[in-house]
C-alpha cells in the first residue's frame, strides 16, 4: 500500500526503485528523494516503476519536476515500466512523449549510454 523508495548506482547511473502507491499522499517523499539526488549531483536517473501499484497525477507531476531538475544540469530521467495500467496513465496525459520508457533497467542504461 504505502511507498517504498530505494536507490543505488549502476554503471554510473542512479537507479531509483519505487514500490507501492505514488499518490497525493506519498508523492512528496519521492519528490524529496529526487531533489536530494540532484543536490548530491546525480543527474543521470532511472526510475524503476515495475513495483508501482498505483500512480496518480501528483506522482506524474513529481516525475516531470524531477526531469526538469536533471535537465537543468544536462542530465536525464528515464523510466522502467511494463505495466499496462501504469503506461496508460502516461499515455492519456501525453507524457509518453516526454519520458524515455523502457522494459528493464539494463535497457534503460544501455539506451542512455548509446545516446552519449
Amino acid at each position: 500500500m504505502d511507498l517504498k523508495l530505494d536507490h543505488h548506482t549502476k554503471d554510473g547511473i542512479e537507479i531509483v526503485d519505487v514500490e507501492g502507491e505514488i499518490d497525493v499522499y506519498t508523492a512528496p517523499r519521492l519528490r524529496e528523494l529526487l531533489i536530494e539526488l540532484v543536490n548530491s549531483r546525480f543527474y543521470q536517473l532511472v526510475v524503476n516503476m515495475e513495483k508501482v501499484e498505483f500512480l496518480d497525477s501528483t506522482g506524474l507531476g513529481v516525475l516531470v519536476g524531477g526531469l526538469k531538475r536533471v535537465r537543468a544540469h544536462d542530465g536525464s530521467l528515464d523510466l522502467v515500466c511494463t505495466q499496462e495500467r501504469i503506461l496508460k496513465i502516461f499515455r492519456i496525459t501525453g507524457l509518453t512523449k516526454v519520458f524515455g520508457i523502457h522494459d528493464t533497467v539494463d535497457e534503460a542504461i544501455a539506451a542512455r549510454k548509446s545516446e552519449k
Partner: protein, 157 residues
C-alpha cells in the same frame, strides 16, 4: 438515489479513503472489474484536486464525494465547497461554459510538453478526462462539481 456519501477534511490521506470507498461501492454496484482501476484513479484525481483547493482556500470545509448507483450507471460526484479559480478548469475545456462535457479521449495529449508551465491541475483533469466514460464539470457559486460515470450491471443487492 445517492447511495453513499463521504465527506472528509481536506487531507491527502483521506483521498486514499475516498478511493477505497469509491472502488468498493463501484464493485458492489456492478461496475466491471476491468473498469475499477479507472474508477479508483479518476476519483482519486478529482478528490486530490478538491483537497488541494480546500487547503488553499477553506481548510476547515470538508470535501464531498457522492456515489450513486443508477439503473445501469455508477455515478460519482466530487464537490468543492469553496470557490476554486474557475478560469483554471475552464481553460482546460473549450469555451469554459458550465456545464462542460469532456470527450473521453486523451485530453493531455495535445497540450504540449513537460516544459509547458503554470498548469497546476492540468494533469489531474487530463487523467479524469482520459479515464471517465462521461465527465461533466460544473462551476457553481461555491465551487466546482466534477461528475463522472461508468457503465454498471446494476446492484448486486
Amino acid at each position: 438515489m445517492a447511495t453513499v456519501e463521504l465527506s472528509f477534511t481536506p487531507l491527502p490521506a483521506h483521498v486514499r479513503t475516498a478511493r477505497l470507498v469509491a472502488t468498493a461501492v463501484a464493485r458492489h454496484s456492478g461496475v466491471d472489474e476491468s473498469l475499477l482501476d479507472e474508477v479508483r484513479l479518476a476519483v482519486g484525481e478529482a478528490c486530490s484536486r478538491a483537497v488541494e483547493g480546500h487547503q488553499l482556500h477553506c481548510p476547515a470545509e470538508p470535501v464531498r464525494l457522492a456515489l450513486t448507483d443508477l439503473a445501469d450507471r455508477f455515478e460519482v460526484e466530487v464537490t468543492d465547497t469553496c470557490v476554486q479559480a474557475p478560469a483554471e478548469v475552464a481553460s482546460q475545456v473549450a469555451g469554459g461554459k458550465a456545464p462542460v462535457r469532456l470527450a473521453a479521449q486523451p485530453a493531455g495529449a495535445g497540450r504540449g510538453t513537460a516544459d509547458g508551465d503554470g498548469l497546476p491541475h492540468s494533469l489531474g483533469i487530463a487523467v479524469i478526462a482520459g479515464l471517465a466514460d462521461d465527465v461533466v464539470i460544473t462551476e457553481t457559486e461555491v465551487g466546482t462539481v466534477i461528475r463522472m460515470s461508468w457503465p454498471s450491471a446494476g446492484s448486486a443487492s
